[in-house]
Symmetry: none
Subunit: 228 residues, 2 copies
């Protein structure tokens, strides 16, 4: 884990492996002792060397080690197996984790699609014939954006030093209700989706900022579930 990221696989080189073993064993033992000290828990580590039939063990104090091991051994095997051997449990754990990930991903996808919908609509594209549900969600997204912008503006008002270009261009006195489409675009696209930065200097002058291209570079059809 230094100089180079090591691949997690058996180290073929003999001496390198032995060196690593030595270093890491030491580090591991230290970690075990730290965990035990810091959190006041019983812990035990047993490491068999490649040749040595006698493992390195922590805690080094024989009595402590013995106590941990005795406790472990005396426990009905059934309980031991619950955590170390119960495949079913681990599987369930894994499955719910994946499910969780999936849900998160789906939420993100949905949000992304809504954001795209917003940008494209603001850019003059016709709002597709989406269901009310989608409209409500879209409303939520837009509200969130507005809120974020308002906060940013409020924050800037209290500042006496740097006045961001954005403010010079749009004027903060404008009421939120009166913000026009291109102002919206300017505000929201403060960090624009694509290479707007590479647009000519006159880019921000007003008018149809995306005359040269749409925010996402193409007109991907709206996802099917957006429609009735």
């Amino acid at each position: 884990m230094a100089r180079k990221k090591v691949k997690l696989a058996w180290i073929a080189n003999d001496s390198a492996r032995r060196a690593t073993f030595k270093k890491r064993k030491k580090g591991l033992m230290k970690k075990v002792s730290e965990l035990s000290t810091l959190c006041g828990v019983e812990a035990c580590a047993i490491i068999y060397g490649p040749e040595d039939p006698q493992p390195d063990v922590w805690p080094s104090s024989p009595s402590d080690a013995h106590s941990v091991l005795t406790r472990f051994k005396s426990m009905p095997e059934m309980e031991q197996s619950k955590k170390m051997m119960n495949q079913e449990g681990l599987l369930r754990q894994g499955i719910s984790k994946v499910k969780e990930q999936l849900k998160k991903q789906q939420r993100e996808n949905h949000n992304f699609e809504l954001t795209q919908l917003m940008y494209r609509t603001l850019n003059g594209e016709a709002l597709p014939d989406v269901g009310t549900e989608v409209l409500h969600a879209l409303e939520g997204v837009i509200e969130e954006k507005m809120k974020a912008i308002q906060e940013r503006i409020d924050g800037l008002r209290g500042t006496t030093s740097v006045t961001p270009i954005l403010i010079n261009r749009t004027g903060v006195k404008m009421e939120m209700e009166a913000i026009q489409r291109q102002k919206w675009l300017e505000a929201m696209m403060n960090n624009p989706p694509h290479e707007q930065q590479h647009q000519p200097a006159g880019y921000y002058g007003g008018g149809n900022e995306f005359a040269n291209g749409v925010p996402y570079g193409d007109h991907t059809p709206w996802p099917n579930h957006f429609y009735h």
Copy 2:
């Protein structure tokens, strides 16, 4: 070891201690698995939680499942204010990660089901009318188990010191070809999936060990895809 160097002593603050415990336990387990992988040695860690009578243990049988799944981190959250253009890319990345996880999980599920199939069949339950594909896969699982057992026995033969209880019970002289069903069960169930330990003392005496119950406690129907 971050933000501030922590003093090596019992952490008095309750929630802080729990948080540290969780983090460090995870880190420790990872280290153990890494050491084991990189250097090809046997290693074991046992950690008792403050309350939990069940320790966390490494290795866990489906070792990959645990470490791989915990290692899996959700993709960094999208920063709306920055680089909208990357959203799509980030999403794709996240999706493929989830997909990958899902595949892994499915492989594990399948393997688990096959293992259950094996145990239940060995226990005398009728082999369901599975397709050839499943049969072949089952064959593979069984072969793997046999190989593992053979290796264990071979290893033990070369040892003059400690003779594990398992050996006392079964006798290593027995040829693999002659191993009977209950021996199989003993060997494979060395750390049994469920409550067999609570069986009467005569449990290991031979005969129908699972007369009072099946290994998994119930007769869950075989998964649909096992059948023709």
